[in-house]
């Protein structure tokens, strides 16, 4: 007979109480684990969706400003296209895709339009709205969240993604919807741009952006026609929003010191705000559940103490100090916490894996890293919830057994 055995025997005797207490902790932990399992997956999904809003970082020449980028100023400065390779070959994390561009305003059939040289596949990744046009088939997707899975479940190699440049034919162009309308052109028509003949490969659907008034052609063709070889006027970068908050911009500035690095504020702000909101929602859930769980355990322990008043009084009478009584009750709470934490992890993970696909269209995977956290949280909540009942148990009059008739 020792204190540990005493705790175990008491557990065995009060089986219904054990189940009730265990249920309180288990359900609390299961809800936390379930929510966390779903939220981890949904955070990744949201991060990918946010990245699919498009590029969020602009690399511009030192003397340029964002207006130059949007208005296609004819005199806007340029910088070497090789900068794309510098970023691609760097160890920089969080750059999911890059789209170098050279843009100049030209006049075609009396219409003033912007001619933009692009590297198509990168451009596709930076312009998710285009992905619906069907021109490039299944385009590259952003891989913002670390370890984000592709459709087939394999993890993307960011470097490969950066370098995957699928060349558009040199004599093809893509027209924005408004540009096509103004030029009265449709697919497979031909047009002459700056002395070069082009076939209209695709007319983009209306996007409601500046791209509707653009003519897109292969970057290298545009460079040749405009006589600005191996130069670009901007690089659009799709940066992982988490990486941006972790200092991606300053790292890019160090890498490309003679450029101007700026964010497309609204997109970044939306990304960061959404991430913060999700974190806050998770936190609120956690606090509520911890509070409810703590109160439930405290209530259970208090009921247990009340039921065992005579027993505790007798233990005090035969020489158990208050400290030993505390230890007995807190050991019970600790065991309850660990058992409840383990069960809660299993049930929470199972529920998330089952319900995730049905209610949130998310394939939830078990997160083993949550197990230690679940055990620790359950143990701490059980101990904190039991602290007051244990303290009050220590104050039970030892002579309670001598007062009865």
């Amino acid at each position: 007979m020792n204190l540990t055995k005493l705790v175990w025997l008491e557990f065995k005797y009060h089986k219904s109480q054990l189940i009730t207490g265990l249920l309180a902790i288990t359900l609390g932990v299961a809800v936390i684990v379930g929510i966390r399992s779903v939220s981890v997956v949904s955070e990744k999904a949201v991060a990918i969706n946010l990245d699919n809003l498009g590029a969020n970082i602009l690399v511009l020449p030192q003397g340029a400003n964002v207006d130059n980028y949007y208005t296609a100023d004819i005199d806007a400065p340029t910088f070497p296209e090789a900068y794309v390779e510098i970023v691609a070959t760097s160890a920089l994390q969080g750059v999911d895709n890059m789209s170098p561009k050279l843009t100049r305003r030209i006049t075609v059939r009396g219409q003033k339009l912007a001619l933009t040289g692009i590297l198509p596949k990168n451009e596709l990744a930076s312009k998710p709205l285009w992905q619906k046009s069907g021109l490039f088939g299944a385009g590259a997707k952003a891989s913002c969240a670390p370890g984000a899975a592709t459709d087939n479940g394999a993890y993307k190699d960011e470097k490969l993604l950066r370098k995957s440049i699928d060349a558009i034919e040199e004599d093809e162009c893509i027209l924005g919807s408004s540009a096509a309308q103004r030029l009265q052109l449709k697919e497979n028509d031909t047009i002459t741009l700056e002395g070069g003949g082009f076939k209209v490969a695709k007319v983009l659907t209306e996007t409601g952006t500046i791209d509707d008034d653009r003519i897109f052609a292969h970057l290298h063709t545009v460079q040749r026609l405009l006589g600005i070889k191996e130069q670009v006027s901007a690089i659009e970068i799709m940066g992982c929003c988490n990486a941006i908050t972790d200092g991606l911009l300053s790292k890019l500035r160090n890498l490309l010191p003679d450029t101007k690095i700026t964010t497309i504020g609204q997109i970044v702000a939306t990304q960061v705000q959404t991430n913060k909101l999700m974190n806050k929602v998770s936190l609120v859930f956690l606090v509520i559940i911890l509070f409810v769980g703590g109160v439930s355990i405290g209530n259970f322990m208090w009921a247990n103490v009340n039921e065992r008043r005579k027993e505790i009084g007798m233990l005090r009478m035969i020489g158990f100090s208050k400290g030993v009584i505390y230890r007995l009750l807190l050991a019970k709470a600790l065991i309850l916490g660990i058992m409840g934490g383990a069960l809660g992890y299993i049930i929470g993970t199972g529920a998330a894996m089952w319900l995730g696909p049905q209610f949130a269209q998310l394939a939830v995977q078990p997160l083993p890293q949550l197990l230690p956290a679940a055990l620790a949280i359950a143990a701490v909540v059980a101990l904190l919830g039991s602290a007051i009942p244990a303290y009050l148990a220590g104050k039970i009059d030892p002579f309670i057994n001598m007062q009865e008739e």
Partner: protein, 224 residues
């Protein structure tokens, strides 16, 4: 005979709107080692309060209780816990056994914190249970025992830590006359064979007759 317990002017009063109520009023007596002291008196005479003060389970309002060289009335809670664990055994009217422990486990309870192996504790419990005639009931739960057997288990539990003083509060209060005699005989035997000091509160004249010293309380005072 050496004195084991000295009670001097022990007073316990409770405050009341109508004035202080004295449960014990300047109670003084001494107990020698090996005495079997019975404390009698009507309900409300202060018998149980006296026992509680002697065990350090309630704080007295005045006077001192000295157990050998240990002053109970001025000791801290942890000192009193140690004192009760090592020097005192309790036998109570309600038996106060833990329902989910077997007879042997209940007996071993005071040894739960003792630096002994499980086998040593089991051996000690077996010996004591043999002494009280329950060696064949050691694996029984309290609900599987008769009232007399439960009280024997309680007595065994009181003896397991080899105390120097047994404090018994109406140990036969829940027993019929036959079982009462059995228990009182057992206590008397232990008193004589082990030279163990026993203070027993009772309102039964038959039980009181077992003591070699009798103290009678009336309104918190020793009257005989």
């Amino acid at each position: 005979m050496s004195t084991i317990l000295t009670i001097s002017d022990l007073t316990k009063k409770y405050r009341h709107a109508d004035g202080d109520i004295y449960a014990l009023n300047k109670v003084s007596f001494a107990v020698d080692k090996g005495d079997f002291v019975t404390i009698t008196g009507s309900s409300g005479s202060g018998k149980t309060t006296l026992l509680l003060c002697l065990a350090g389970l309630i704080q007295s309002s005045g006077g001192t209780v000295q157990f050998q060289d240990f002053t109970i009335t001025s000791a801290s809670d942890s000192q009193l816990s140690h004192f009760r664990k090592s020097k005192v055994g309790f036998v109570m009217q309600s038996f106060a056994l833990i329902p989910y422990l077997t007879a042997a486990e209940n007996v071993m309870l005071p040894l739960a914190q003792a630096p002994m192996s499980g086998r040593q504790k089991q051996t000690a419990a077996d010996e004591i249970l043999r002494l009280v005639g329950l060696e064949n009931r050691k694996n029984h739960l309290p609900k599987e025992l008769s009232a007399g057997q439960r009280q024997r288990v309680a007595i065994a539990r009181a003896l397991i830590n080899k105390p120097e003083l047994i404090l018994a509060d109406e140990p036969t209060g829940n027993l019929d006359p036959t079982l009462s005699t059995d228990i009182l005989d057992l206590l008397s035997t232990i008193n004589k064979t082990q030279n163990l000091t026993i203070l027993m509160v009772t309102h039964s004249p038959m039980a009181a007759a077992y003591g070699n010293r009798k103290i009678h309380l009336k309104d918190g005072e020793v009257v005989a």
